[in-house]
């Protein structure tokens, strides 16, 4: 600035004419034109290769990345929804199955209950029958053994009576009494 101001003071008077007229004094600056053109084209080429190209590349890459991310997110959202639906259906099925199982178990328990009761009833019936049978048999056995005893007793009595000269009628009477007594004792 200072330099310029110094030099300007000296040349203030001649400032006006040449500088403001387009191209005046300078003539035709063919060299400048060629240089500017060449420089601009070189700059364009260099920047395209080293700066704008990579920058555009990364912006493009980012765009693609974002697009793919959005796509992936959309996809996973759909997948999650599907999974949720599936899980829901599965849960429903499981619940239904559990209910069925419980119902079946209840039914089976009921059946088993009636079965067991019936079996118990039959068993008790059978036991009763067999007990009755046994009792009857025991009675018969007892009767038989009694009869046999009675017979032997009677023989003993008879032998005693014979010793005492017992009449036939007395003997009959005696036997009957014994039998009667034996029957009543039972």
């Amino acid at each position: 600035m200072r330099k310029e101001s110094e030099s300007l003071e000296g040349s203030e008077m001649i400032v006006t004419t040449n500088a403001y007229v387009l191209g005046a004094g300078a003539g035709f600056n063919g060299g400048d034109i060629l240089f500017q053109l060449a420089m601009f084209i070189i700059l364009l080429a260099l920047l395209k290769k080293f700066a704008w190209g990579p920058l555009m590349g990364i912006m493009q890459q980012r765009e693609e990345h974002i697009a793919s991310e959005i796509e992936a997110a959309e996809k996973s959202r759909v997948e999650a929804n599907q999974l949720l639906e599936e899980t829901r259906a599965e849960l429903k099925a499981t619940r239904l199955e559990a209910q069925n199982t419980i119902e079946n178990a209840k039914k089976m328990g009921e059946e088993q209950k009636t079965e067991i009761i019936a079996a118990a009833r039959a068993e008790s019936e059978r036991l009763k029958e067999s007990a009755k049978l046994e009792i009857a048999q025991e009675r018969d056995n007892a009767m038989n053994s009694l009869r046999e005893q009675v017979a032997s007793l009677s023989v003993m009595i008879a032998s005693k009576v014979i010793e005492k000269e017992l009449s036939a009628a007395d003997q009959e009477q005696l036997i009957n009494d014994y039998i009667k007594e034996a029957g009543e004792e039972r």
């Binding site: 006006t16 600056n29 240089f35 500017q36 364009l44 920047l47 080293f50 700066a51 912006m59």
Partner: protein, 240 residues
């Protein structure tokens, strides 16, 4: 701004090329700065952008928006890189002349390259040339030629003028804005800031104008890119 330009003449195959070394220097500096910033910004690219990568991604989206507002992305996508490079290069160029100007031996070396009509017109001609090139390439030569007679045949002279007017306005708008900004800065710094009182008085308007120039530089970079896309879309699209 009234300083001499460091001109050099080079004879190349019988054609005399004139080089303004100041322009050469500043074009190189601007290109280098843009290149280095872009490389620094895109050196550690990450899927999760941080810091400067965010800024550059914003710039990309911004230019993408400019392209999209003029044509559909299918045709406009190929101009994306051109747009980003243009907006970055012009913005950096516009900023270069703001903090200081270097004058050595009454020769102006450091300035905005876009404060020279030759540079801005070169860019403008390049853009318009590109629009013609892509028009022929994408629509065919006959369709491209017919466009000069649409919507009415007698519009042809106007259409012809339009091409030159577009080129000139595109280049000179940028040049005018930046050149005027630097002129005013030079006047503020050079003519007003004489003596202690002058320096004090110059501080506030200089700061204000610098801020405004930053704004103008950004806006002009945006406008240049926007109009580039407008012209290209105008040539390339077939529905009007």
């Amino acid at each position: 701004m009234g300083h001499e330009s460091p001109l050099r003449h080079v004879d190349l195959f019988g054609v005399t090329l004139t080089f303004n070394l100041s322009n050469i220097l500043m074009i190189t500096v601007a290109s280098l700065i843009v290149f280095l910033i872009a490389i620094a910004a895109t050196r550690n690219l990450a899927m999760k952008p941080t810091g400067i990568q965010n800024i550059f991604e914003w710039i990309m989206d911004f230019v993408k928006g400019i392209v999209k507002s003029n044509m559909d992305w299918k045709t406009g996508g190929r101009f994306h890189i051109l747009g980003i490079t243009l907006i970055m290069y012009i913005f950096v160029s516009n900023m270069l002349g703001l903090p200081f100007a270097v004058v050595y031996d009454d020769v102006l070396w450091w300035k905005s390259p876009t404060a020279d009509p030759v540079i801005t017109l070169t860019l403008a001609v390049m853009v318009v040339g590109l629009s013609h090139f892509y028009a022929i390439r994408m629509k065919g030569f006959s369709e491209y030629g017919k466009d000069f007679f649409r919507p009415m045949w007698f519009m042809f002279p106007l259409k012809l003028i339009e091409e030159f007017a577009n080129t000139l306005t595109l280049g000179l708008r940028l040049y005018g804005n930046i050149f005027a900004g630097e002129i005013l800065l030079t006047l503020l710094a050079g003519s007003l800031a004489t003596g202690v009182g002058g320096h004090l008085a110059a501080i506030i308007p200089t700061l204000a104008w610098m801020g405004f120039s930053v704004f103008i530089g950004a806006i002009q970079a945006f406008i240049f890119t926007m109009l580039t896309m407008v012209y290209i879309a105008h040539k390339v699209s077939s529905d009007h």
